[in-house]
């Protein structure tokens, strides 16, 4: 268990975003600049007070931290960047919390930004995909020699394995995209706001079977940013602080496959009954599942929401198929998830759109989709990392 005594020592002081959309025709640097400026303004911080930056994702599709620092005229004491995958959102915020606690920086902009406007038919996988060319294969199971390519194919492999092992099916999985689209309909920022039904999901074409088009997230342009400061500093700023009270890092190793918890039996994972136990993030934040008012997760593909629920012990392995039915994960349900609409419907902002939404929910700024009385919100992912925020 982390023992940095960092519980509630860092906070989100401001959040900001660019518009989210397809073919905005703007560069990732332009989108990032707008999100950063909006986040500083939200916090009531001047540009000169921003002295740290951590970017997840980066070129060629995103904006890099060094470039942003130069073009935006920043003087950074510390910056860093993760490689071009969507899985590092929590890691960035965790580093930022440690940076402000260590005095490496006073205010750290954490962000993701990207644009696909210049690509004629944007999609991931296929010729030119660098993932598939990695020595020993891609991070989502890519093996182009056999036609195995794209992050979604890795998620489809997990979905099939899950369906076979636990007797679940595509119709049950529809509950996830249907719920998130319902939320997106209440979110003016969201790209896809037209409600969908289970029948719509079942009628949508297979992309990589058993996953259908409506199991896949959007590919779009956009940027979102959160500014991390010490809790002490945040209390003096424009908006009420949102405290970072629990942190759980990203695990790695042979028993991990990006879209599956250990034991599921994908790639080289052993097969056993996964037990969530008490995940460290809850112990650090000193809360239990019952205290979590809403859950946000990286939903590049619908199945990832099931995996995250089981990985963090909201239900047992194989139970998410039932758990997500009958509105339980919708606004007004027992555990609302991805009230922004997620990557599936708000848009793919590399996980940063979710962080912005969480902060706005905890401040009570979400209008028609506000979770009443939200106090504790968790970001928890299929690949095992997490943050717990509270107001």
């Amino acid at each position: 268990m982390p023992d940095f005594n960092l519980k509630d020592k860092a906070a989100i002081a401001g959040v900001g975003n660019s518009p989210y959309g397809r073919r905005l025709g703007r560069s990732p640097i332009d989108l990032a600049a707008e999100a950063i400026a909006n986040a500083l303004d939200d916090a009531g911080l001047a540009r000169g007070e921003l002295d740290g930056m951590i970017v997840s994702f980066g070129s060629p599709l995103g904006a890099d931290a060094d470039t942003l620092a130069a073009l935006l005229g920043l003087r950074l004491r510390a910056y860093s960047q993760t490689w071009a995958h969507g899985r590092f959102t929590a890691s960035c915020i965790q580093w930022a919390a440690m940076m402000v606690s260590a005095g490496f920086a006073n205010a750290v902009a954490c962000l993701g930004s990207w644009s696909l406007s210049h690509i004629r038919r944007p999609k991931f996988g296929g010729a030119g995909d660098r993932e598939g060319a990695r020595e020993a294969g891609g991070g989502h199971g890519e093996d182009p020699v056999f036609g195995m390519t794209s992050p979604g194919a890795g998620a489809a492999l997990v979905a099939r394995r899950y369906f076979e092992r636990y007797g679940a099916n595509s119709r049950q999985l529809a509950a996830v995209p249907v719920a998130f689209r319902k939320h997106a309909a209440l979110n003016p920022l969201a790209i896809m706001r037209q409600p969908i039904t289970v029948e719509d999901h079942q009628a949508s074409r297979f992309v990589c079977e058993p996953l259908r088009l409506l199991d896949y997230c959007l590919v779009n342009d956009g940027a979102a940013c959160v500014v991390v400061t010490t809790a002490e500093r945040a209390r003096d700023l424009r908006k009420p602080p949102v405290y970072i009270s629990g942190m759980q890092p990203l695990p790695g190793g042979g028993e991990e496959f990006i879209w599956a918890y250990p034991g599921l039996g994908v790639a080289q994972q052993q097969v056993f009954e996964y037990e969530a136990g008490v995940q460290p993030v809850y112990r650090m934040a000193d809360v239990t599942h019952k205290d979590i008012d809403a859950l946000y997760t990286y939903d590049a593909f619908s199945i990832l929401a099931w995996i995250a629920l089981e990985r963090f012990g909201f239900c047992k392995p194989g139970e998410a198929a039932d758990f997500t039915q009958n509105g339980r994960i919708e606004l007004g349900g027992e555990l609302p998830m991805n009230t922004n609409g997620g990557l599936l419907s708000e848009g793919h902002i590399l996980g940063w759109g979710h962080q912005v939404e969480i902060v706005r929910q905890l401040r009570g700024e979400c209008g028609a989709r506000q979770i009443s009385g939200a106090e504790v919100i968790q970001w928890a992912n299929c690949y095992g990392d997490s943050l717990i925020y509270h107001k």
Partner: protein
């Protein structure tokens, strides 16, 4: 032989023996002389005990379907004519899993746990791919 349009493997000094063995119609993976662990993908040392005493050992070429997907969208030009095509993850009797395509079976008939055996597919003069087909066997 007609021009081969599908992606080629990224051959490195580490995985060269794997591909060389396939060319000879043998499925070989590294076996640790220290602890007996057989593993894939190739590694410079045994992931279990870190021994570097590794031997490229011939495997049975038999296994079972662990999971599979069916591509309904073309990503590679070379696969366009084969949509919908399957990609399966086969678990070998010796333990490791590998990605492959199942042949001699309709996509709708693929089942988890189905026993399969290797077919050496000489796709070019230099490249042999391990594909798998259903086979009969008791438990």
């Amino acid at each position: 032989m007609a021009q081969y349009l599908k992606p080629l493997p990224t051959i490195t000094p580490l995985n060269q023996p794997y591909w060389d063995a396939l060319r000879r119609h043998e499925l070989r993976m590294q076996r640790c002389e220290g602890c007996g662990h057989i593993f894939y993908p190739p590694s410079p040392l045994c992931p279990r005990c870190w021994s570097r005493e590794l031997r490229w050992t011939a495997l049975s070429g038999r296994g079972r379907v662990n999971s599979w997907v069916v591509f309904h969208q073309a990503y590679f030009k070379g696969f366009e004519g084969e949509i919908p095509y399957n990609v399966a993850e086969v678990e070998l009797d010796e333990g490791p899993r590998l990605m492959t395509n199942l042949i001699a079976i309709a996509n709708e008939d693929i089942r988890a746990g189905m026993p399969v055996e290797i077919v050496y597919d000489d796709v070019t003069e230099e490249l042999t791919l391990p594909r798998f087909r259903p086979c009969n066997r008791q438990i």
